[in-house]
């Protein structure tokens, strides 16, 4: 991703990360579209997400992805299973940095 992209003012991002590990920046080109997105929310959570991705240590916490709880939660497509997965732990255990 070129650094210039990040500096285009008014650009609206979303969390679409492709297999090459680059974040696709979706730009809403029409002016009304930009106004609508700003009206929905001024927050830009993708900025924090990019920091987390950059600081994440590969492999740490990956065991969570192997648990039955995670697999059942992510793989089942119906409404029968538990649709909510809560990862709890004390501060600093790495909850934010789970891949």
């Amino acid at each position: 991703m070129s650094s210039g992209h990040q500096h285009v003012s008014g650009i609206i991002n979303s969390f679409n990360v492709n297999s090459h590990n680059t974040v696709n920046i979706i730009t809403e080109t029409d002016a009304e579209g930009r106004q609508i997105l700003q009206w929905l929310s001024p927050l830009e959570p993708q900025q924090r997400h990019q920091d987390v991705r950059n600081d994440r240590l590969d492999g740490v916490g990956n065991w969570v992805l192997e648990t039955t709880e995670f697999r059942k939660w992510s793989d089942s497509e119906d409404g029968c299973v538990e649709p909510v997965l809560f990862c709890h732990g004390n501060p600093g255990v790495g909850k934010t940095y789970l891949r």
Binding site: I12, N13, S14, F15, N16, V17, N18, S19, N21, I26, E28, E32, G33, Q35, I36, L37, W39, L40, S41, P42, L43, P45, R48, H49, V52, R53, L57, G59, V60, G61, W63, V64, L65, T67, E69, F70, K72, W73, S74, E77, D78, G79, V81, E82, P83, V84, L85, F86, C87, H88, G89, N90, P91, V93, G94, K95, T96, L98, R99
Partner: protein, 188 residues
């Protein structure tokens, strides 16, 4: 988590959206603030859905562009999510929002799940909010995140390698640090 879900969703009509709660941003991250951020991510995936555009145009005519009220926001969100094949909503650090905002958020998520049962919600937080989650969303699976010895080892190596004063740590001290910390942790 967002990256794992995004990678797995590649090529499918699956949306992955999320937010990191921040103790310092409690004011912006109200129930409506969090849901608004989620709706914005869903709306910006592709062309903005007509029902959102319509709501904006109506709001613009009234009082010079009023913001969405929480009940309206939840309705729009429900409609948007039910038009998608599947949505993953990830909210990190739920304990960093205020109890009132958290309650509102969990109740809204419950409503969304009721309408779109294929939706999946991923939450992280400290253990003390467990009761609130179970009370509001009775059907929640839970994982206790405890770093493994390998996780801690990798983390220690990273921190030692990144030491800004590498001359202060010789090999012997480095080995001691690794040994003592890992031993202490295994006794916890």
């Amino acid at each position: 988590m967002i990256d794992t879900l995004c990678d797995r969703s590649e090529g499918k009509d699956i949306a992955v959206v999320g937010l990191y709660c921040d103790f310092l941003a409690q004011q912006e991250q109200s129930t409506a603030g969090i849901l608004g951020a989620i709706l914005k991510q869903l709306a910006s995936r592709d062309r903005i859905p007509e029902h959102i555009r319509g709501a904006f145009q109506r709001a613009k005519r009234e009082f010079g562009g009023r913001g969405l009220r929480l009940p309206d926001l939840v309705e729009i969100l429900k409609k948007t999510i039910s038009s998608l094949q599947r949505v993953f909503i990830c909210i990190d650090g739920l304990d960093e929002s205020t109890p009132k905002h958290r309650r509102g958020l969990l109740e809204s998520l419950r409503e969304i799940l009721h309408v779109s049962p294929s939706t999946r919600v991923f939450l992280t937080g400290r253990p003390h909010i467990d009761d609130e989650i179970v009370k509001c969303l009775s059907n929640a699976a839970r994982i206790d995140v405890i770093p493994t010895q390998d996780d801690i080892k990798s983390y220690l190596v990273m921190r030692l390698d990144g030491d800004t004063e590498p001359s202060a740590v010789n090999d012997e001290l480095r080995a001691d640090i690794m040994r003592v910390i890992l031993a202490e942790i295994s006794e916890m």
